[in-house]
Symmetry: C2
Subunit: 273 residues, 2 copies
């Protein structure tokens, strides 16, 4: 099944644009859990079990798994196995390297781990992205306008009268022969989301930055979705994972995820029905 088909199928089935970000930090686990790799896995499984009917995607921030050292691979692998196969999985490693190296990353992320999608940097150009888009069933989300403070340092520089991130959007659009590219646009930039969506009406947008980072959920739905109110993948990590530091953390996570999904549904109805 193509990536876009899998994404819209699960978005309709779960009536959800919500991506749960599993940026699981050992140091922030509920206080009763030890700071171990096995506790991270137990925590992830509980979060997934509590939220999987509410989410269209899970995004694993690979830095947090690499930080587990020798156990990182196993915890990533077993976390992925706990995710129902109809739900999109995103390996958020923001890779970007030349052709033969990018092939190694694609092999590891898509076929060793089995992620449906990855995030990649645009800076090294086409040959650094191409190995991630050979398979129409897998999607590469290219960083366009990121949610962080540092996004202003280079992404907003003016190139030919337009911001650099817009040049990235237009270039990625040209590369999109197999319709398996997407873009990362932070919810912290609602004013830019609308023109970006206008440039790529049918491309999935991965939108981080709601929740702790302060992005605007209403505008993320309104301007991030395609004309049918789909194809926005709106990520929340810390606000769900650390909704409670007690033994009831999974219930609290479910409550937060449900709240976000309900808000998204409300905005979808408001703007797309």
């Amino acid at each position: 099944m193509t990536f876009q088909k899998k994404l819209t199928t699960v978005q309709r089935k779960h009536r959800s644009l919500l991506c749960v970000g599993l940026d699981t930090d050992r140091q922030l686990l509920p206080s009763h859990l030890p700071r171990t790799a096995d506790a991270v896995l137990e925590f992830n499984r509980a979060i997934i079990e509590a939220t999987s009917d509410l989410a269209c995607a899970y995004k694993l921030n690979l830095a947090f798994y690499e930080a587990l050292g020798n156990d990182g691979w196993r915890v990533t692998d077993e976390t992925l196995r706990s995710i129902p196969p109809s739900i999109i999985t995103i390996g958020d490693g923001k890779r970007g390297d030349l052709g033969n190296t990018a092939e190694q990353y694609a092999q590891a992320l898509y076929y060793e781990f089995g992620f449906d999608a990855v995030t990649v940097h645009p800076y090294m150009g086409f040959d650094s992205v191409e190995p991630f888009i050979r398979d129409a069933d897998r999607c590469a989300f290219v960083l366009a306008l990121t949610s962080n403070e540092g996004s202003k340092d280079f992404q907003r520089l003016t190139v030919g009268g337009r911001p650099l991130y817009e040049k990235v959007v237009q270039t990625v659009k040209k590369w999109n022969k197999k319709r398996n590219l997407g873009l990362v646009v932070g919810a912290t930039h609602p004013d830019e989301l609308k023109p970006i969506r206008a440039l790529v009406p049918a491309m999935p947008l991965l939108i981080p930055g709601v929740g702790k980072q302060g992005g605007d959920l209403k505008l993320a739905v309104r301007y991030g979705c395609d004309k049918d109110g789909e194809l926005a993948v709106i990520n929340a990590s810390r606000s769900i994972l650390y909704a409670s530091s007690t033994k009831n953390y999974a219930t609290a996570a479910r409550k937060e995820a449900a709240k976000l999904r309900t808000l998204m549904q409300r905005y979808q109805e408001q703007f797309f029905s």
Copy 2:
């Protein structure tokens, strides 16, 4: 010891600008070795033993270790332990993510593995780089003008009348309060190396792309070094690792590394004495 001190010390002691790139691909191992993680480790150890008096640095391309799956962490760790501690180690992962994630990467690469240096993408700006430069003993090489074909797609776009990569160079120079930033500039762009070095006279430059990629070694030395003929770290990977596919691969690797070092010494004498 600061990174720059460690680098110049080993460059003088070994009379070498050579960085050996351990981009060890299981599929390209000598024909008598099995395609296993243990064989990668055995191969790396033999290459290091055969070349360590000729090199100022080893660069591990992390994609090739990630591709080893569950064994990747151990092979990385044990490869690093085989490198004499006076030699610079570079974790070439081209990371680039927002602050709290970059902290996780820095923790893993610098303090779990013990790399002296890393490579990072500039696209996400200062907060994505800052966690890698808190410690003056560690260095972040920021991608400026990469050796690959795709470097033309964005890096050469014109920003304020100058190419984007030059804007990256100037911005990184401003960030360099602790004198522990460096830049990646491909040897495939010798015409650009000279003006880049002029902008950053005292910054280490990591220069990949000689050997298989066809970069110009003579110009990499001439324009990549500082005024004393130092601070260029010139990487060769495939030409050394795969100099022979027979049981004599380590001897062949040594011969190739020695040839490159001798050429570099000749150009250093020619241009800096």
